[in-house]
């Protein structure tokens, strides 16, 4: 078993354990910490897949930004919960069954296809993920992604920045207005 496969199984197990922790923990703050564990494990898996830039963005934006946002909200929304109150929906049993069915049926089909793809074609050489597209110049993964992002995908990039601006304004408006109206 080579190193990358051992790393994959180790961190895939951590990611799945963290994800299960997110949905079974009673307190939201425990769920948030398990979510952080999953994000970091997935970042390691991105590095294993030679996606160093994406791994860095995952740690900065997800494990840094979004996680702080969640923890702040949990702090603001201090829910005093009765000990005996159920925290799972009453349809939980059915939902779990449907989820397992989804996993078995769709997962089986998709995994079968992915297996066939992996058997038919070997993975492309990893060097292609670090070379500037079309020039053959070897650079880092970050430089290659940046080249593609600012040359080929400049318009979507600008639209994404407008989307984030709209989201920011929306969050400010939503957070402010209800206070004045209902106090």
């Amino acid at each position: 078993m080579d190193v990358s496969l051992a790393l994959f199984w180790a961190f895939a197990a951590v990611a799945v354990a963290g994800a299960v922790g997110v949905i079974v923990m009673r307190q939201p703050v425990h769920s948030a910490l398990f979510l952080l564990l999953t994000f970091l494990a997935v970042a390691v898996l991105f590095v294993v897949a030679h996606a160093e830039f994406v791994a860095a963005v995952q740690v900065l934006v997800y494990a840094g930004g979004i996680m702080v946002l969640f923890l702040y909200t949990i702090m603001l929304v201090n829910v005093r919960r009765q000990a005996g109150e159920p925290y799972l929906h009453r349809q939980a049993g059915v939902a779990l069954g449907v989820g397992l069915l989804l996993l078995a049926v769709v997962g089986g089909v998709v995994l079968g296809d992915a297996r066939r793809l992996a058997d038919a074609h070997a993975a492309a050489p990893a060097a292609r993920l670090t070379e500037v597209v079309g020039s053959g110049v070897a650079a880092g993964n970050s430089q290659a992604v940046g080249w593609l992002l600012y040359r080929e995908y400049l318009l979507p990039f600008e639209i994404a920045s407008v989307l984030l601006l709209v989201a920011m304004i929306g969050a400010v408006v939503l957070g402010k207005r209800t206070m004045e109206k209902f106090d």
Partner: protein
């Protein structure tokens, strides 16, 4: 050797856990966290196929997905805060005004 099938399998397991989380939890915060899990599962798929095909476009798309996820988290959590101010709860069962 880690193949694309390994990543697709892991991605689907995380996706299913996220979907089940959305369905079984009553707390709006945990439902939002489950949605983040689903988006992360999609990112794993994009990175895996970028690796398999040697095409960096997948990485660029992951950056866009993360940007959309950040916007979604900001709006979603603002909705959580305003729901809490309105009803002093974040339980989804208590937010049923628009139920027919």
């Amino acid at each position: 050797m880690v193949t694309v099938a390994h990543y697709v399998g892991l991605s689907f397991v995380l996706f299913t856990i996220g979907v089940v989380g959305v369905l079984i939890r009553r707390n709006l915060l945990t439902v939002l966290m489950s949605i983040e899990l689903i988006l992360n599962a999609v990112n794993i798929n994009l990175v895996a196929f970028a690796r398999q095909l040697g095409d960096l476009t997948g990485h660029v798309f992951v950056v866009f997905v993360i940007a959309v996820a950040a916007g979604e988290a900001a709006i979603g959590l603002a909705i959580v805060v305003s729901l809490y101010r309105l009803k002093s709860t974040v339980s989804l069962d208590d937010a049923s005004e628009m139920k027919g």
